[in-house]
């Protein structure tokens, strides 16, 4: 009744192939964007920024990156944490080596550096598949973390082996360092998220994305119809690592400000992002957002309800949090193996028929 295609006429090909062909979707998209860009900056405070919105936005970029590789191209990767570390360390080296250059440029450059590293570690994917590839990317995970721990050049020979983000500004507003304003940091990340989502969405709709999906669905068939597996797989590794690198750079410079590679970018991070992608929905940009929201926001929400609201002991709440999040993951995987994005798709189908399903 409310949500329908009927009456939404398209007279050009351009209109017909737009990202949101249904008017209601389009309106909702612009509405969310408007709220995110025009309303949230005025009400945001440090807590909402650092505990809720920044991790959500940054993990959403990482999940999108991994979704391109795993969801669209079918190459399982357990190296996300390490690729985030590459982004973070690249950003750190760039920030300290060229202090006068704009931080946004550094973050994009770190994305490109990570893309290079990702393509290098993507080379084995030409020979090995499935679980074996997962193990190869696992090697990347351990090797890169070891490298950043072992070679002092990466952390500018600091005694603690930590990297600290110095203060950098963009158009006079502080973006990194301790004395930032919440709204400026938030908008900075929001721009990166929106741009990433826009690029990802359009890449996956175009020739490149179709090649990735062809490789994912059956690589031999894809090869026969003329998809070059070398190019398709390496481009997927490159594009995926680009976004993962950007998220790593933001994670370090904007969100945490000080990072220790083993703790911040360990194997746990790789699994976390992989869970986001699986729970959100493989092969879906919306799914990346939903997965990131689920994994980032739910623990914070549970903590606030159980400890802040009900006054339970913190350890009990923390244990319950694990159990509830774990239980929900299993529940979703059983009830809807294609993730939250699929649930949303089904909801939309139902809404189209509502209230007359027969």
């Amino acid at each position: 009744m409310l949500y329908r295609e009927a009456g939404d006429f398209k007279t050009t090909y351009r209109e017909d192939s737009q990202t949101f062909p249904i008017r209601l979707d389009r309106t909702a998209y612009f509405l969310i964007l408007a709220v995110a860009a025009l309303f949230v900056p005025f009400v945001i405070n440090d807590y909402w920024l650092n505990a809720v919105l920044l991790p959500f936005l940054i993990y959403a970029i990482a999940a999108m990156g991994l979704n391109i590789l795993t969801g669209y191209c079918g190459q399982v990767s357990l190296g996300t944490g390490a690729f985030m570390a590459v982004g973070a360390y690249a950003c750190y080296k760039l920030m300290t080596a060229f202090p006068d250059i704009n931080i946004a440029i550094h973050i994009v450059l770190s994305g490109f550096i990570t893309a290079g590293v990702g393509m290098l570690f993507g080379l084995p994917s030409l020979r090995i598949k499935g679980f074996y590839l997962a193990v190869a990317t696992l090697a990347a995970q351990f090797f890169l973390v070891w490298l950043f721990n072992r070679v002092p050049w990466f952390y500018n020979y600091s005694a603690s082996g930590q990297i600290n983000a110095p203060e950098r500004t963009l158009a006079g507003f502080r973006i990194t360092g301790p004395e930032t304003q919440a709204w400026a940091v938030y908008l900075f990340c929001l721009v990166f998220v929106v741009a990433s989502a826009w690029i990802c969405r359009n890449l996956t709709r175009g020739a490149m994305g179709r090649k990735w999906m062809a490789i994912r669905d059956m690589d031999i068939a894809a090869e026969i119809i003329g998809v070059n597996p070398l190019r398709a797989k390496l481009s997927a590794f490159g594009v995926s690592s680009f976004f993962v690198g950007i998220s790593g750079a933001l994670f370090f410079s904007v969100y945490l400000g000080a990072v220790e590679v083993g703790e911040a970018f360990g194997i746990n991070k790789s699994f976390l992002v992989l869970f986001m992608v699986i729970i959100g929905g493989l092969g879906s940009i919306l799914g990346s957002f939903l997965g990131a929201a689920f994994m980032v926001l739910l623990p914070v929400l549970l903590k606030n309800v159980l400890v802040g609201g009900l006054g339970w002991p913190t350890d009990l709440a923390a244990h319950l949090e694990y159990m509830i999040v774990g239980g929900l993951i299993i529940f979703f995987l059983i009830v809807e193996p294609h993730g939250l994005a699929q649930l949303w798709r089904i909801t939309k189908e139902k809404l189209r028929l509502w209230p007359f399903p027969h």
Partner: protein, 427 residues
């Protein structure tokens, strides 16, 4: 409509009113995860001390204490969440009990103007109050710890360590890497060979490190471990029959929970400590009377008298004394974080003041100043007696090599000041 709004606003102020008059101490604890075995006793001690003050004295200077506990799981991301969640409640001082979170918070507390006290952990060079006016790490720092351990070994070996081989088994993180700089300097000075053996988080897998120790046969092993890593390391040392009395842990590797799993084998293991062990203090009677007997003990209440429980008490005691000092200086009981900072900066721990608190001889005496936030840098050696199941104090408080450490602190903190364009305080 207007009336409802006024009522709402009134309600909000009323609800916020009493909270403002309280002294808020956040407790960033971890009772879950691979570091919980060490996090729990500390958090219990911290909570019990404040509970006791509330019951016995009605808080500090007539202001009740509001302790907010927040679970970090030793994870920096959760630590940041906890910091942001509690700072709005008027937190007076942060004690995150994690070097990783400390590094995270140093720039933030400096910007927000909230003091942070890292009791024998955190960034050593933060003891230079000129560069880090908001951070305190007395009574001793990691570099003091490294120096004290070497001094003790010098003593044991008749003042000569040349040609000896000393292994450092450390948690591969900012925490574990802290002593390397000092130990490298000391190895050059005293002519011993330093063998660095990093153990990755969380430290459950240490076979290769201990295999290397078996092969290299170092004369001594020094350990910078935390959480499950301590238990595993001590067990591995027992497995390769490494002589326990040549194995020295930092103060974070010397609690009952670390040595008990290895049973008899751990007998003779040594660890540094900057406060007393056991429950033989007057304060414990007050804890019993006002907290435990009423069933208000924090956690499971089974950690009383352990090393880390005592350390939690110690941390809370310093926070409380800092607040008391601040109230004294500023002549008001309702102090702000900035006043709290002044209190911590002028804090003086003497034998008399500790005795007054029911903690006679509990820790080393020290006095802070604007420049010196690092305390006196003294620590004692404790030894584990497995038969009796308790730590025995082996030495008096040993003074660290202040000259060397002052030089290293100056170097490191000045580099930090330059990197971050910090104007020196105390001028």
């Amino acid at each position: 409509m207007k009336k409802t709004l006024t009522t709402l606003a009134l309600g909000a102020t009323l609800a916020a009113g009493p909270a403002l008059a309280e002294l808020t101490f956040p407790s960033l604890s971890y009772r879950t995860g691979p570091y919980a075995a060490n996090g729990i006793p500390f958090a219990d001690g911290y909570a019990d001390y404040f509970a006791m003050l509330n019951e016995r004295d009605g808080g500090i200077g007539g202001e009740r204490i509001n302790m907010i506990e927040c679970e970090t799981g030793y994870n920096t991301e959760k630590g940041v969440e906890c910091y942001e969640a509690t700072k709005g409640e008027g937190a007076l001082v942060y004690q995150p009990l994690s070097t990783g979170i400390t590094y995270q918070l140093i720039p933030r507390v400096s910007a927000d103007g909230i003091p942070m006290h890292t009791l024998g952990y955190g960034r050593t060079s933060a003891s230079n109050g000129e560069v880090f006016p908001w951070v305190f790490n007395y009574p001793a720092t990691y570099w003091d710890g490294a120096s004290v351990a070497i001094k003790y070994l010098l003593d044991e070996n008749g003042g000569d360590l040349s040609g000896k081989k000393i292994a450092l088994v450390y948690h591969n993180s900012a925490y574990g890497k802290e002593p390397i700089r000092t130990l490298t300097e000391l190895s050059e000075e005293h002519g011993f060979e330093l063998l660095e053996l990093p153990v990755d988080h969380p430290g459950q897998e240490q076979k290769s490190q201990w295999l290397q120790i078996r092969r290299e046969r170092p004369d001594n092993v020094i350990m910078w471990g935390w959480g499950v890593m301590n238990q595993v390391a001590i067990q591995e040392a027992v497995n390769i029959r490494y002589p326990m009395d040549q194995f020295i842990g930092i103060w974070w590797s010397g609690s009952e929970n670390d040595v008990r799993p290895a049973g008899e084998g751990a007998d003779g293991y040594k660890a540094l400590n900057f406060h007393a062990v056991g429950s033989d203090f007057e304060l414990y009677d007050d804890l019993e009377e006002y907290v435990w007997s009423k069933g208000n003990a924090a956690g499971a209440g089974d950690q009383h008298g352990t090393v880390l429980y005592n350390r939690g008490l110690y941390a809370a005691m310093i926070a409380a004394e800092g607040a008391r000092k601040a109230q004294e200086i500023h002549g008001t009981s309702d102090i702000t974080p900035a006043m709290m900072r002044d209190g911590l900066e002028q804090l003086e721990m003497t034998e008399e003041s500790m005795a007054e608190l029911g903690l006679a001889g509990f820790g080393p005496t020290f006095s802070a100043s604007c420049e010196n936030h690092g305390g006196s840098g003294r620590a004692a050696i404790n030894q584990w007696n497995a038969n009796e199941g308790k730590w025995e104090v082996l030495t008096d408080y040993i003074q660290s090599d202040q000259e060397l450490i002052a030089r290293l602190v100056q170097e490191d903190s000045m580099a930090y000041a330059e990197e971050n364009n910090i104007e020196l305080a105390c001028q």
